[in-house]
């Protein structure tokens, strides 16, 4: 543990950089993908374009984006911005698909009921559709955040600082401990973010915890029975 003891301020700094590069894209990507997915859901034109576009986007390797983006954005190749933008694009690609599924799975009867109760489209989207889509949205976010945290370290190959720097530096100086610390911290970050997102999903869906005795579930069951 001598290496860690001597270098922990540096390790802490890299952990912070890694956290920024993995969390910021998830937030930005969610802000772009969720509204876009909602627009795509009932559109015959937008849906195939966005779904095909996002799967094509996902085919482009991360290193390619890290190198090509400076050209498009005018940034330095070692700039954190390239990684953030590239990973935001990936998050959009992952989330778009699962968010479209999430909104499509929302019960049409519930939407009609809220319209009948006088909800205007925006309020209906924010308070009814978005809440009911939370479980599937959170599942997509969890996949995106785990794969992000692992991809951030690849940036170190072209000189962007993150926990990945511990891998490239450890290899160059033959310090096994440095690499192991890097891997362990990456896994810890992935676990913590996953727990955070799981917790968020839990807090945002109180009706799922209430069990079958809740009024909402009983009403939903009644509605389904009537529809069948």
């Amino acid at each position: 543990m001598t290496w860690t003891a001597a270098n922990w301020p540096h390790v802490l700094e890299l952990t912070g950089a890694h956290l920024v590069q993995s969390v910021l894209p998830v937030l930005l990507g969610a802000l772009v993908a969720i509204p876009l997915a909602r627009l795509a859901v009932r559109s015959r034109v937008l849906r195939p374009v966005l779904v095909t576009g996002s799967s094509l986007l996902y085919t482009i390797p991360s290193l390619t984006l890290f190198v090509v983006l400076p050209l498009l954005l005018g940034t330095q190749i070692t700039s954190v911005a390239n990684v953030v933008v590239a990973l935001t694009l990936y998050v959009v690609a992952i989330l778009l698909r699962s968010s479209v599924d999430a909104f499509e799975a929302v019960d049409r009867g519930v939407l009609q009921a809220s319209t009948a109760m006088g909800y205007r489209p925006l309020r209906r989207f924010l308070t009814v559709e978005l809440s009911l889509a939370v479980p599937v949205l959170v599942a997509g976010l969890r996949v995106a955040s785990v794969s992000n945290i692992s991809m951030v370290s690849v940036g170190a190959v072209i000189g962007v600082q993150s926990l990945g720097t511990l891998f490239t530096d450890g290899l160059r100086r033959s310090i096994v401990e440095e690499i192991v610390v890097g891997i362990a911290l990456t896994v810890v970050l992935a676990l913590l973010l996953d727990l955070l997102l799981q917790g968020l999903g839990h807090v945002l869906t109180p009706w799922q915890r209430a069990g079958s005795r809740s009024v909402t579930t009983r009403l939903l069951a009644l509605g389904r029975g009537a529809a069948a």
């Binding site: 996902y58 390797p61 390619t64 190198v67 190959v157 990945g164 891998f167 490239t168 992935a190 676990l191």
Partner: protein, 222 residues
């Protein structure tokens, strides 16, 4: 955009295409590493996924294992194995296999586990043994999902093989690392475009395979 032009010039230069460090050689190396990695990953993950999906035993373990492997940073494993096992082909390949196993394993397991029980019961009722049900009912029905897992694994492997150049191996990443060392941006840009084209081509071929391998009966089903 002059950088883009010089990257294209590098791609069009006959010198880039000849010799032991030429693009055809690097492309073959890239495909060879990717192929070897996928073969090893298939050999581990497919039988395991089929067995767990068929018997239902250890499904919790498989889901947890696939999740845990996904969280491991490939670059970290690549450098760690190289330090511990020395330079050579196998340390990076083992790291890449660990990257390819989760999607293949999840695909094989989920594909088999989600086959409708009625179909399996029908097979048993026709007098099929457990192995026959797996081979003749579950496997053909689950094939599109299994191939989907293999497709996403192949995509990740082709993209990540670029990084093995960092530990003194070949492949298309060689140009990226060497170009970075001498600040030759056009070579870096040209090579990453090649990797992206290769990834698109591999994905397109596997998409075609996935389509052809889907039983006509499944395509008709809603």
């Amino acid at each position: 955009m002059s950088l883009l032009a010089s990257a294209l010039a590098w791609l069009a230069d006959p010198d880039s295409w000849s010799g032991s460090g030429g693009i055809p050689t690097r492309l073959l190396e890239h495909l060879a590493y990717s192929g070897l990695t996928l073969l090893l990953a298939l050999a581990v993950a497919v039988p395991l996924g089929l067995w767990v999906g068929h018997t239902g035993r250890g499904s919790g373990v498989v889901v947890a294992l696939a999740g845990a492997l996904r969280a491991l940073p490939t670059l970290g494993l690549l450098t760690l194995f190289t330090l511990l096992l020395g330079l050579g082909l196998m340390p990076p390949v083992v790291a890449l296999v660990l990257l390819a196993v989760p999607p293949i394993l999840s695909g094989a397991y989920a594909g088999i586990a989600n086959v409708s029980p009625a179909l399996k019961d029908a097979g048993t009722a026709l007098g099929m043994t457990g192995g026959q049900v797996l081979a003749r009912v579950e496997l053909p029905t689950a094939l599109p999902v299994i191939l989907g897992g293999i497709r996403s694994a192949a995509l990740q492997v082709v993209a990540t093989v670029t990084v093995v150049a960092y530990i003194n191996l070949g492949g298309l990443g060689r140009y990226l690392i060497d170009g970075l060392a001498v600040r030759d941006y056009s070579r870096m840009l040209g090579s990453v475009v090649l990797v992206a084209l290769l990834a698109l081509a591999v994905d397109a071929v596997l998409a075609l395979v996935q389509r052809l391998a889907t039983s006509p009966g499944l395509r008709l089903a809603p």
